[in-house]
């Protein structure tokens, strides 16, 4: 099943040399600290706070409208700073999310409106359900499905999740064409 074409007007998006498509209406603070590794789509009204700490986003990621990527705050023994945020490849982040995690592994799916708490570590191939709240400092093991706010044992996802996520994100990018 192929995704339908999603057309966007050329004036709305900036396309970089490595194929990243960033909406002009998104707010990228501190863009020198933000790394997009290629073929990533960032939709309108996203807020990416690169001014607080480095943010690295992998290949073929999709970040839907109104999401906030914000590095979390960390007190070290020698002082304080903001913790860098790393997002792996082929990650699909739905709209209205607030992400303060330290690390999101590759091939993850983050549902609409979810809140990823401070300094979380989400391993590869995870899925976070819509509207869930991941408490601060949680570590979510690979291939798990997290929903709601519970700390009950996570449901397992099948091993084909990796291929599914690669499929979804690559298809999205291929069908995201200028009108």
């Amino acid at each position: 099943m192929e995704l339908g074409d999603v057309k966007y007007s050329r004036a709305d998006f900036i396309e970089t040399a490595s194929g990243n498509k960033v909406s002009r209406q998104s707010i990228l603070c501190g863009s020198q600290n933000i790394t997009l590794n290629g073929k990533t789509v960032i939709q309108r009204d996203c807020v990416i706070r690169g001014d607080l700490a480095n943010i690295g986003i992998g290949r073929h990621c999709v970040i839907n409208p109104n999401t906030v990527l914000r590095p979390s705050f960390k007190k070290f023994s020698k002082g304080v700073s903001f913790f860098p945020l790393h997002i792996g490849d082929h990650v699909f982040i739905e709209s209205d999310c607030v992400i303060s995690a330290a690390n999101i592994g590759s091939y993850c799916y983050i549902g609409k409106g979810s809140i990823i708490g401070r300094r979380c570590i989400i391993k590869e191939c995870c899925a976070i359900a819509e509207g869930s709240i991941v408490p601060p400092e949680t570590v979510i093991p690979p291939l798990s499905f997290f929903s709601g706010t519970t700390s009950a044992p996570y449901e397992e996802l099948p091993e084909c999740t990796k291929d599914l996520m690669i499929d979804i994100t690559k298809n999205y990018y291929q069908h995201f064409i200028p009108s």
């Binding site: 914000r70 809140i115 709240i133």
Partner: protein, 197 residues
């Protein structure tokens, strides 16, 4: 920058010393911001039907909406100020309409507080919780969970002094900051505004 947005709402902004207010934030109406407060970009402070007075050491993150908008039936055009105390933390996406907020409160991500609620000191409103009841929350209340359970905590939340310090050093290198500009045309308002930097 002060821009009058409509005839009825004249933007007048007074910023205390050492406060950091990013240019990208939307501030409309009569707003007074206390010292050491940090307002992140994309925060919205809208004083539509009355001034907003923000105390010292508050942390207002992005996509926060602080709005003083009167209920048509109950307020009848009186200009009631919305007062926020000191050292509060308003995390990403929350919405504060309460007329009175005390000190050391924490409003977590995407929480909402309605106009008729009064937050006293040391309260924590959990993520995605919505408090719109007509009541005064006792000191140190914590509202959490999807069923909005409540409990009283023993200590108030710590003031985020270290984070405020770090932000006041980091944000100016990446953002333009708003300077205090008092363009209120009412001659009765004293114009001894203190400016930033």
């Amino acid at each position: 920058m002060a821009n009058p947005t409509s005839v009825a709402v004249k933007t007048s902004l007074r910023i205390g010393p050492q406060a950091t207010v990013c240019q990208d934030s939307e501030i409309r109406g009569e707003v007074i911001i206390g010292p050491k407060t940090v307002i992140h970009p994309k925060a919205r402070i809208i004083a539509e039907s009355g001034p907003i007075i923000i105390g010292e050491g508050n942390l207002v993150e992005e996509l926060v909406t602080i709005i003083n908008k009167c209920d048509e039936d109950s307020d009848r055009g009186q200009r009631v100020p919305l007062i926020i105390g000191n050292y509060n933390v308003l995390e990403v996406g929350c919405r504060l309409e309460a007329l009175g907020t005390g000190d050391y409160n924490v409003l977590e991500v995407k929480s909402q507080v309605g106009r008729n609620t009064v937050l006293s000191n040391g309260c924590v409103i959990g993520a995605m919780c919505k408090v719109v009841t007509r009541e005064t929350l006792p000191d140190f209340t914590v509202i959490y969970g999807k069923d909005h359970e409540r409990r009283i905590q023993h200590e108030r939340p710590q003031p985020q002094l270290l984070q405020l310090d770090l932000l006041s050093k980091v944000l100016p290198s990446y953002h333009h900051l708003k300077k205090a500009r008092n363009i209120s045309r009412q001659s009765s308002v004293s114009s001894t505004a203190s400016s930033t930097n």
